[in-house]
């Protein structure tokens, strides 16, 4: 197996790309579900419950199920990543929105804002840091799950790790495992810094 820098870089980029796409699709679904479930606590509980069940299924088992349904390929991996991204984003969006002090909504109403305007200009910005935390958790998890993607014929660093294990070739294993680890750490650090920036900006308003 090739462990040259261009090849490893390409696999790293593929890995990040698939993780991001899967996370964003799941995040969009999670976000939409959370907004739908606002002020409907029973619905919220039910949705979060379902998402928690999905979350508990071990990655390789979930991917194996999806393989039976969708066959091999990047698409199958992305479906799995999206499913795992739903819970963190949905839960954080829901809690973020619920956690907005009603005082602000009252102020917006008093200023003559419509419900939609209040949502977009008051609640969402205030809840944003919490939502971003959910997104961060989802993305970092995706990077991890994407390494198993090799078993459903997907691209990414998992290719190197798996091949390295078959050959018991340390160089190949590390060429896959180290970038994967670094990628996860990097995303975690960048998004945490972004969160802090935004919550400082939000509280400064």
């Amino acid at each position: 197996m090739n462990t040259s820098l261009p090849y490893v870089s390409m696999l790293t980029f593929q890995h990040l790309y698939l993780s991001v796409v899967g996370t964003l699709i799941g995040a969009a679904i999670g976000f939409a579900l959370a907004v739908w479930a606002r002020r409907r606590p029973r619905l919220a509980n039910a949705l979060i419950g379902i998402a928690e069940v999905i979350q508990t299924i071990p990655g390789i088992a979930l991917l194996a199920f999806l393989l039976l349904a969708f066959g091999l390929g990047n698409g199958t991996l992305v479906v799995g990543l999206a499913l795992y991204a739903i819970l963190p984003v949905m839960q954080n969006t829901y809690e973020g929105l619920e956690g907005v002090d009603p005082v602000y909504m009252g102020i917006g109403k008093g200023m003559g804002m419509t419900r939609g305007q209040i949502f977009r200009q008051v609640e969402l910005p205030l809840a944003f840091p919490v939502i971003l935390t959910g997104l961060r958790v989802a993305l970092v998890t995706s990077i991890g799950v994407a390494t198993i993607g090799v078993f459903v014929g997907a691209d990414g660093l998992g290719l190197l790790i798996y091949r390295g294990l078959q050959l018991i070739d340390t160089q190949v294993i590390l060429a896959g495992a180290i970038p994967a680890g670094l990628l996860a750490i990097l995303i975690e650090v960048i998004l945490t810094l972004l969160e802090r920036r935004l919550s400082r900006a939000a509280s400064a308003r």
């Binding site: 197996m1 090739n2 090849y7 390409m10 696999l11 980029f13 593929q14 790309y17 698939l18 991001v20 796409v21 964003l24 699709i25 995040a27 969009a28 976000f31 066959g71 091999l72 390929g73 990047n74 698409g75 992305v78 977009r120 200009q121 969402l124 910005p125 944003f128 090799v150 078993f151 014929g153 691209d155 290719l159 798996y162 091949r163 294990l165 078959q166 050959l167 018991i168 070739d169 160089q171 190949v172 935004l198 900006a201 939000a202 308003r205």
Partner: protein, 314 residues
């Protein structure tokens, strides 16, 4: 400031989701050739391979030859997919167009027919049955017979004076058997072996191919199944036991291709048959050795072989 970010955030989610729905092809994906996007009018031809070096090498060769000789078609190489059942299921569902199969596996494992010892008869049997049963055709054999074999460390062979598999019957209770998971569920594998030779091992272990050789070298297991063209056979001092009861069928390697693919691209047959008879046991084992022991890249080894054979321009 945060409002702008919010809008940007939501917009990029929507945009990326739409983009990704247009075909999940990360830029520079190793599995596509440079010829255009995969969602074009020409559906790609997908080559697959099982999860061991030899099959990956042949898959790479098939990929290289098709890429070089097929005009205007995208070729993808999905290598290292898993045990036989993974590419087999994928080719039946149309997710793969072809991969390299072995006549014995086709005969005993897939068609579930009894062992036929004559190599030509075995090839003919699968060549006749696959089109009618599965709408899949066998190309011409590549030349080598990569049969399952049973091996023990040379020291163990000496200790118990083992030359044939039958010799194992008296000492099997003292020995542990190891093989990759697939071996334990095949009729031409562990169950059949025990039955035909009347063997009873003290224990068995399921190990992946790479770990198998290390475990036998470390003394954790004493008897393993091997592929007769394994590169690792050269490196580890193992004695291959003679299959005196002719339990194993011949396993001649040849590409199998979906008839639908051949219909859409009739040239595929001639391109793949360029490899017919080009690889005997010794040369296949040498190539395997380069990857498994010398840790050369399977992509390079496959390419170099084709170039040396004059089948690919450098």
């Amino acid at each position: 400031m945060t409002r702008k970010l919010t809008v940007l955030f939501l917009t990029s989610i929507v945009l990326l989701a739409i983009l990704s729905a247009c075909g999940l092809q990360p830029p520079g994906s190793s599995s596509t050739s440079s010829a255009g996007s995969s969602s074009s009018s020409n559906s790609p031809i997908v080559v697959g391979s099982k999860s061991f070096t030899e099959n990956i090498l042949i898959g790479n060769m098939m990929y290289d030859l098709l890429k070089a000789n097929l005009k205007g078609v995208t070729v993808q190489n999905k290598s290292n997919l898993g045990g036989t059942m993974v590419p087999w299921n994928a080719i039946q569902s149309g997710q793969l167009d072809m991969y390299c199969e072995y006549t014995g596996t086709g005969l005993v494992d897939i068609l579930k027919q009894p062992v036929v010892s004559n190599p030509d008869a075995a090839y003919q049997a699968v060549k006749d049955a696959y089109p009618t049963k599965f709408k899949i055709d066998w190309m011409q054999p590549l030349g080598f017979n990569d049969t399952y074999a049973i091996a023990v460390p040379a020291s163990v062979a000496k200790q118990y004076n083992l030359k044939t598999i039958s010799d194992l019957s008296s000492v099997a209770s003292k020995l542990t058997f190891g093989a990759e998971p697939e071996y334990f569920s095949r009729p031409d594998g562990y169950p059949g072996l025990l039955k035909t030779y009347g063997l009873k091992f003290s224990g068995k272990k399921e190990l992946n191919v790479g770990l198998k050789y290390q475990a036998v070298a470390g003394g954790q297991i004493q008897v393993i199944d091997v592929f007769s063209t394994d590169g690792n056979l050269i490196k580890y001092n193992l004695t291959v036991l003679d299959d005196d009861k002719h339990f194993f069928p011949p396993y001649y390697a040849a590409p199998i291709v979906r008839e639908a693919t051949l219909k859409a691209h009739p040239e595929v047959s001639a391109i793949l048959n360029k490899m017919a008879g080009k690889l005997d046991n010794t040369s296949m084992q040498k190539l395997n050795y380069q990857v498994d022991v010398e840790h050369k890249s399977a992509d390079d080894v496959a390419k170099q072989f084709l170039i040396a054979q004059g089948l690919l321009s450098a």
